[in-house]
């Protein structure tokens, strides 16, 4: 309330009834999340808002620390047999779900089995699994059919879909049906009666939560809820959110457009920090002409100047990286092997060699997304190179439907779209969303290449990091020829926050444990 009305209210003798303000005596962290929560099931959707919700209410067996190493989270310890086939996990003592029932190994087994039906890495894990059983209330035994190097990577997967642990009764929901009960064992619990879809999501501190003793480290370590409530206030309009941040009506503004940074620079009450890194992905439809022609895709790789593309969205050098690689630049698997320099003349030459005859190229652009400026720049480059671009603007809802079509462009099909997967999904070859080249089963655009798939399988069996790096390099060398997609630059999403907040973490996923706010 502003001072003017407060004075008016006092003058009129109107004192607010305290009962009507449950939050008055509590600390409430007000967050403007980047999107809206559409469903509560973290195992059926890869939507990042659902993933972020999952980090609020659930916990995982393992988690990634700041260095990218997998650390036990709900697990107290684990052992591996000498042949590497039998894994035993022991749960920490005293873990409880929000309904006050203890977390048991049965819950873990049921949750992992449900997750393994839907998640890509989970499916691989289950495919290599001979048995997954609850040996005693706190012990889970996993027996593999063959050696598989990614058990911990799977169980400590940092981004969607998360292998979260939920009560067995909820995990019994078939994997093709959404759960509606958000009971978990995480640091916060959902206040479902106050959830107003499209407007507000409310979390309360979970009294049942048992944090680890360690300090928070990346997504691992102690997750202490230091505020009583977290409210996610949905504000689709960025300018509205900026106004609210400036007026102190919200504490955190996720995905603040980078162009707004300069507006709050002089404001001592507001700071800006990095939220999450993305890789811009310009995807081509390989099931239809003209991009079924690898030469033309190679031409696209030569054509795109990442610097120019990414600067259409953000022009602060600290917030973007021109990265000559399919992997994130800070990934241990980063390599610039065989990467071509942008070269318009060479691209033109390749286009001519490819036999391109002016076929229509349908560019889909979801204009409300961060990738829209990049799409505009790439379209411009394509036109300059003599490609026949049919640019079609739409909302993300339409785009995400259009891109499922394998029809020719004359029958509602498409040629390209852009998306921005988060860093954890673009770091290593197996989890890499856009490098996968397993034809029908790959991401929209359907790249198909046996050589890459063989290398990805080898990667999971590789004995150590060096061997993995070598394979990752080979995959890139091959992918530069098959061009499953064109990276259009890596950039940081930023968040604006009240400078008075203490302990806000930046592990690459927005998480709200550890942060505290003075009353």
């Amino acid at each position: 309330m502003t001072s003017l009305t407060r004075r008016l209210a006092l003058a009129a003798g109107l004192v607010l009834p305290l009962a009507a303000l449950p939050a008055a005596a509590q600390t409430v962290l007000k967050v403007r999340p980047f999107g809206d929560l559409r469903t509560l099931d973290p195992m059926t959707t890869s939507d990042y808002m659902v993933r972020n919700h999952a980090y609020m209410v659930y916990d995982t067996l393992f988690a990634v620390d700041a260095k990218g190493l997998i650390k036990p989270q709900m697990a107290e310890s684990f052992t591996t047999s000498a042949d590497g086939l039998t894994w035993t996990f022991v749960l920490r003592e005293g873990l409880k779900f929000h309904d006050n029932t203890p977390v048991t190994s049965t819950d873990v087994v049921a949750s992992l089995k449900r997750w393994g039906e839907r998640d890509g890495l989970g499916q691989q894990l289950l495919a290599h699994t001979a048995s997954l059983t609850a040996t005693d209330p706190r012990t889970i035994t996993l027996v593999l059919k063959d050696r598989w190097g990614l058990v911990l990577d799977a169980l400590g997967k940092p981004s969607s879909m998360l292998p979260v642990i939920m009560p067995a009764r909820i995990a019994a929901t078939p994997a093709n049906q959404n759960i509606t009960d958000a009971t978990g064992s995480g640091p916060f619990m959902l206040v479902k009666e106050q959830w107003s879809p499209g407007s507000k999501i409310v979390y309360a501190k979970a009294p049942t939560y048992q944090p680890r003793k360690e300090a928070p480290d990346g997504l691992s370590g102690g997750k202490l809820a230091n505020v009583d409530r977290v409210e996610w206030l949905i504000m689709p309009d960025a300018q509205t959110a900026l106004n609210a941040l400036q007026a102190g009506e919200i504490d955190i503004f996720e995905e603040m457009p980078p162009d707004m940074i300069s507006l709050v620079k002089g404001n001592a009450k507001i700071t800006v920090s990095k939220l999450a890194a993305l890789q811009g992905v310009f995807r081509m439809n390989q099931s239809q002409p003209p991009f079924n022609n690898p030469k033309l895709r190679q031409a696209m790789l030569l054509l795109v100047d990442q610097e120019q593309a990414v600067r259409a969205y953000v022009d602060d050098k600290a917030l973007y990286t021109v990265c000559p690689s399919f992997y994130m630049c800070d990934s241990p698997y980063f390599t610039d092997a065989s990467w071509p320099k942008p070269d318009l003349a060479a691209a033109r030459k390749l286009i001519a060699e490819s036999g391109y005859k002016g076929e229509k190229i349908v560019v889909l652009d979801a204009t409300e997304t961060a990738l829209s400026p990049q799409t505009l720049v790439v379209s411009q480059l394509m036109r300059d190179a003599g490609l026949n671009v049919d640019y079609q603007a739409m909302d993300w809802g339409t785009l995400s439907s259009r891109r499922t079509s394998k029809n020719p462009v004359t029958q509602g099909g498409w040629s390209t779209f852009a998306s921005g997967p988060a860093a954890p999904d673009m770091t290593e070859p197996v989890g890499h969303l856009a490098l996968r080249s397993n034809c029908e089963n790959s991401w929209f655009g359907w790249p198909c290449d046996e050589a890459i798939e063989k290398l990805r399988a080898e990667f999971t069996m590789a004995p150590d990091l060096e061997a993995r790096k070598a394979i990752a390099r080979k995959i890139q060398e091959r992918a530069v020829e098959t061009v499953p997609y064109v990276p259009v630059g890596q950039f940081w999403l930023v968040r604006g926050q009240q400078a008075s907040l203490k302990g806000l973490l930046s592990p690459g996923v927005p998480v709200y444990w550890n942060v505290s706010k003075s009353r």
Binding site: A9, L16, P17, A20, P236, T240, A244, G397
Partner: protein, 313 residues
């Protein structure tokens, strides 16, 4: 009178039926469906298909239509396919902000337009009249969101008198609630006030020229009394009509205002639901909007009796 009301009510049924059918088919023809959005960015085509089956979206259109109509007959608007919440409950949560916003806007518009319009009519042709009419013309010609942004910039960001966004529910007190509605109400009232001021002026001018007003003058009644007692009452009919007709424009303005000021009302619920193809929610909302429109216009017609005793139904 009663039979008139009943006849009018009966006449609204085909209108609402048409609206229901129209919206149903409009949405189903729209590309994109909620299954894809629920399944997420990285879902495969099979995953999307399974979500679609789960939601019943793979059934033939007619079957879906009958299922919906059957529910509707029992007063059940169905469930949101995205949040799985009952549509009636979702709408219920959002009615208060919209109703309060519309009410505040209408009252503000009347408070601005009636005095200005009357003044303008009494001083027809003067500089005041021209200024009021110019103001009305500008209010009439400015997009709501431009007005809204201007108001936020001046009164919220610069002067800090009012919040920049959000809605404080009535349950937290009337004053904080009204305080949160001052700027959105004003933004929304602009267009409406402009329209009302023009109509008030025009109808007053017309009435002032009529015989009974001249008679009242001749009888030696004070000019102010003439205006208040006779003219304004008679000018009320066109004004009330505009209030009724304007409700459609107002509902449209609500959509924009709620977006700019982040008010969790029906307007934002509708745009969100359209963009996410949440069919049951859009269908329910459009029905509610139509019902409001039809009801308000019925009330407007009935109110004529109040203002003009010559009218009988």
């Amino acid at each position: 009178m009663t039979s008139y009301v009943l006849r009018r009510l009966a006449a609204t049924i085909p209108v609402l039926a048409f609206v229901g059918l129209f919206v149903f088919f409009l949405l189903r023809l729209t590309p994109g469906d909620p299954a894809i959005l629920i399944a997420g960015d990285q879902a495969t085509i099979e995953q999307i298909a399974s979500v679609r089956t789960q939601l019943g979206l793979d059934k033939p259109l007619t079957e879906q239509l009958f299922a919906w109509a059957g529910q509707l007959a029992q007063g059940n608007l169905g469930r949101s396919v995205l949040s799985d919440m009952e549509v009636t409950r979702l709408i219920g949560m959002r009615i208060e902000p919209t109703a309060m916003l519309a009410l505040v806007a209408i009252l503000m518009a009347l408070a601005i337009a009636l005095p200005l319009g009357t003044l303008s009519a009494l001083k027809a042709g003067s500089r005041i009249d021209r200024m009021v009419m110019a103001f009305a013309m500008i209010g009439f010609s400015s997009p709501v969101f431009v007005v809204a942004f201007f108001l936020v910039y001046v009164f919220a960001l610069t002067l800090g008198w009012f919040p920049t966004q959000g809605y404080v529910p009535l349950a937290q007190g009337l004053l904080p609630c009204l305080n949160s509605l001052v700027l959105p109400g004003l933004a929304l009232a602009m267009l409406y006030a402009a329209l009302l001021a023009r109509v008030t002026r025009a109808s007053l001018l017309e009435i002032l020229a009529e015989d009974f007003v001249r008679t009242a003058h001749a009888k030696g009644l004070k000019p102010r009394m003439v205006v208040l007692r006779h003219a304004l009452k008679n000018a009320a009919i066109p004004v009330v009509t505009v209030v009724g007709v304007g409700i459609a424009a107002l509902l449209g303005g609500v959509v924009v205002t709620e977006t700019v000021f982040n008010i969790p009302g029906l307007g934002r619920l509708t745009t969100d639901a359209i963009l996410r193809r949440d069919y049951p929610v859009v269908q329910g909302l459009i029905l509610v909007f139509s019902l409001v429109y039809v009801t308000v216009n019925l009330l407007v017609d009935l109110s004529y009796v109040l203002f003009d005793p010559r009218i009988r139904y």
